[in-house]
């Protein structure tokens, strides 16, 4: 169940709106209202980025700080939903999560494989959608690098 003071993103993360101040809540409302008007994906992409960027620039936040804000995450999430609904974007699956993890935490796939104990060849097949990893194999590999699997409610696009 979604509480009125929270926003659930495509990953099932619950973003707390109650922590936002009045102006930030208005910003979120503006992002949501525009998204509900069925905009073109490219238009919305330009719209939300400029809105959120200008808003936090005026407050003196760095760009790095801005991408961690709730309105940034909501703007990005709404934009993703518009792209998915338009059939131009694919919802992420566990392989995308895995690729993102490798991208942000490791210099090479080999380094990731050494840390997790997964075979490079197997990883290559999995990321190319030719094979799947068994859930227990994936869980064991992730545990070795301090990560775990979660089951979350499916979010409607």
């Amino acid at each position: 169940m979604i509480h009125p003071n929270e926003y659930v993103d495509l990953d099932g993360c619950r973003l707390q709106l109650a922590t936002l101040d009045t102006q930030e809540r208005e910003l979120v409302q503006e992002l949501k209202a525009r998204a509900e008007s069925h905009p073109d994906w490219n238009d919305y992409s330009n719209f939300w980025m400029a809105k959120v960027g200008d808003f936090y620039k005026a407050r003196g936040l760095t760009r790095k700080e801005t991408i961690g804000t709730v309105p940034y995450r909501i703007g990005q999430d709404l934009c993703s939903r518009i792209g998915i609904k338009a059939g131009l974007v694919r919802p992420s699956d566990y392989r995308d999560e895995l690729e993102g993890l490798i991208r942000t935490r490791f210099r090479t796939r080999r380094e990731f494989c050494e840390a997790t104990g997964l075979a490079e060849d197997m990883l290559s097949h999995v990321l190319a959608k030719r094979k799947h990893l068994a859930v227990d194999t994936l869980a064991e590999a992730l545990a070795k690098i301090g990560y775990t699997l979660h089951i979350v409610p499916r979010t409607e696009v």
């Binding site: 490219n42 760009r63 993703s80 974007v89 694919r90 992420s92 690729e99 991208r103």
Partner: protein, 120 residues
Amino acid sequence: MSKNPLLECAFFIPIRRDANLSDGDLHSEKAWAWLKRELFLHFEGATVAPGFYEGFYKDPDTGEQVTDRSRMYIVAAPSSKVDELRTLLAKACIVFKQKCIYLSVSGDVEFSRGKQDDPP
């Protein structure tokens, strides 16, 4: 005239992965979010041009004609930041599973390439 004029840099990101290099599938929302975040962090932003751009080219590996449909991004950057954009696009080749990405810097066209085996 400004001491450090901005250059118009435009690049194309096909909306699908390269079918020869990968599976020809649509990109995930995470891939597009990554690009948005990187452009914001390094260039403060970018403009996505309206609509989509249809194109075709000869795949250097297969010799076959390939058609694609792309989004065009426009970034205004000083010349000192153009290399940073090239580096970002080399990473984008990996994230978006492309052999190369078309980049135009003030009308001069080049292709950014990434090494597919490693994460950006």
